[in-house]
């Protein structure tokens, strides 16, 4: 008989285990259950548009802004960020291991026609990848560029199988680190930061949205308690998410 709040979010937050760690205190305090629907960024936004969830939490800033601009969402909040890494095989055919600048590394990969596996699914990660190609002034195409159209983990596995490069969020990479021969080739570039935002679905458009609970949830996400939980969350001994300042 406790109230249900529906949260559509990306697979990366759910699969990392963060939500299972972050949500129980909120659920307990408010006597509610948060139903997590973990899908691709695009689909999460779509579920917000159709009003089938109360809150969305995604990482694709441009799409989020559009979502709000079109009146589907209100109260966008920056919650946290993690970072992307460029992964590559030990053999490093493009010679990018240890490069500090992501765009340069991407250019090298394209120039050497080393296999690169793309998410190809308009996800947050894919959007970022496209930005990087643009910055590197490359239009990727050809046999070396595989557009897989799959989830992050699967793409890491595919890149591993094909001994190619790929762009991944750090959390998923850590989860897969013992299942893939790939190593981090590039990290730490500011262009690889990956902010997550949470947005409430507009109750004017969708009157059944549980405004009270959704607001409480958004407030919780930016509360000190949540911040402590997020920064304290470790996987394999590593911190995955950071708080936006």
């Amino acid at each position: 008989a406790s109230e249900h709040l529906r949260l559509a979010t990306t697979t990366s937050t759910e699969n990392s285990g963060l939500l299972a760690y972050l949500l129980p205190p909120f659920e307990k305090a408010n006597d509610c259950v948060v139903d997590v629907i973990a899908v691709g960024t695009g689909k999460a936004i779509k579920l917000g548009e159709t009003g089938d969830v109360d809150v969305i939490m995604v990482h694709a800033r441009s799409k989020e802004d559009k979502f709000v601009a079109q009146g589907y969402g209100v109260d966008r909040l920056d919650i946290m960020y993690n970072d992307f890494v460029v992964l590559g095989p030990d053999s490093d055919p493009a010679g990018v291991m240890g490069t500090k600048d992501a765009a340069t590394a991407m250019a090298k990969i394209a120039a050497s026609k080393s296999t690169f596996v793309s998410r190809g699914d308009d996800s947050g990660t894919h959007t970022r990848e496209k930005q990087l190609w643009k910055k590197a002034d490359v239009t990727p195409s050809g046999d070396w560029y595989l557009e897989a159209g799959r989830g992050m983990g699967e793409v890491i596995v595919m890149a591993g199988e094909r001994q190619g490069y790929t762009l991944s969020d750090r959390g998923t990479y850590i989860a897969y680190s013992d299942k893939t021969p790939l190593k981090i080739a590039v990290e730490g570039d500011a262009g690889l930061f990956n902010p997550y935002g949470a947005i409430m679905v507009n109750p004017v458009k969708h009157p059944h949205v549980k405004v009270e609970l959704a607001k409480k949830f958004l407030n919780f996400l930016v509360s000190d308690e949540a911040k402590k939980l997020i920064t304290g969350f470790r996987k394999g001994g590593k911190q995955l998410f950071y708080i936006a300042e």
């Binding site: 697979t11 629907i37 159709t50 089938d52 989860a175 059944h208």
Partner: protein
């Protein structure tokens, strides 16, 4: 292949740990599939019977259409019913999306053509004296059809088993319409898909083995039922 052994061990552990979450998932899988496979034959058997026994213009086309419905991908069913159950859809106000009922509805759509087609095939292959025998012994058309079904029960049961296999193994409908919500609409298959996407291959496979075990038990039960 390395993870196969791990998976077997994990599967056995999972089965005997009586982990509440695993039990819940098994239960969700089972009761959605079972409900669907009670409803689907209620629709599919009459359709199959009717297509097999009646003769009308366009019957061949109708059969081809029914065949085609067996090729309906679960994602497409998911999309279609999403439009129905979503807040903006005609059934939106009932709030059925992301509940087991939406999943059951999708699974019924999935299984009905299978049951109908296989019943059609079974009736077509049946002895054509059955109906007349029942009629001349005093059966009504409906009673004669029932008797026909009894005579070809092996084929009818095969259609139900095929339908059950299809719905218990499907992911798309459960994902789209159920939402894979933990402790609510997470089924064995969506859990497997989730674990696989997390890279937990051996855990995914272990859940697969649990699912197969459950399906085997169901089939053994049905088999015993059929023997009688």
């Amino acid at each position: 292949m390395g993870y196969l052994g791990d998976s077997l061990v994990t599967a056995i552990e999972l089965i005997f740990s009586f982990d509440r979450e695993v039990q819940m998932t098994v239960w969700t899988s089972l009761y959605t599939s079972s409900t669907a496979i009670v409803i689907a034959p209620a629709l599919g058997i009459p359709i199959g019977l009717w297509l097999a026994l009646s003769r009308f213009r366009g019957r061949q086309l109708a059969i081809s259409l029914l065949n085609t419905l067996m090729a309906l991908p679960t994602v497409v069913i998911g999309l279609l019913l999403f439009g129905l159950f979503s807040r903006q859809g005609p059934l939106g106000p009932f709030g059925l999306l992301f509940t087991p009922w939406a999943m059951i509805a999708g699974q019924v759509v999935l299984a009905t053509p299978i049951v109908a087609n296989l019943v059609l095939a079974a009736v077509t292959g049946a002895d054509n004296r059955i109906i007349n025998t029942a009629l001349t012994l005093g059966a009504s058309q409906f009673q004669a059809a029932l008797q026909l079904l009894r005579e070809i029960r092996f084929g009818v049961m095969a259609s139900i088993i095929a339908g059950f296999g299809r719905v218990v193994a499907e992911v798309g409908v459960a994902m789209m319409l159920g939402g894979n919500i933990r402790n609510s609409t997470r089924t064995m298959t969506t859990a497997i898909a989730l674990e696989t996407s997390k890279g937990e291959f051996s855990f995914g496979l272990a859940l697969g083995i649990v699912l197969m075990t459950v399906a085997l038990l169901v089939n053994l039960g049905l088999n015993i039922l059929q023997q009688r």
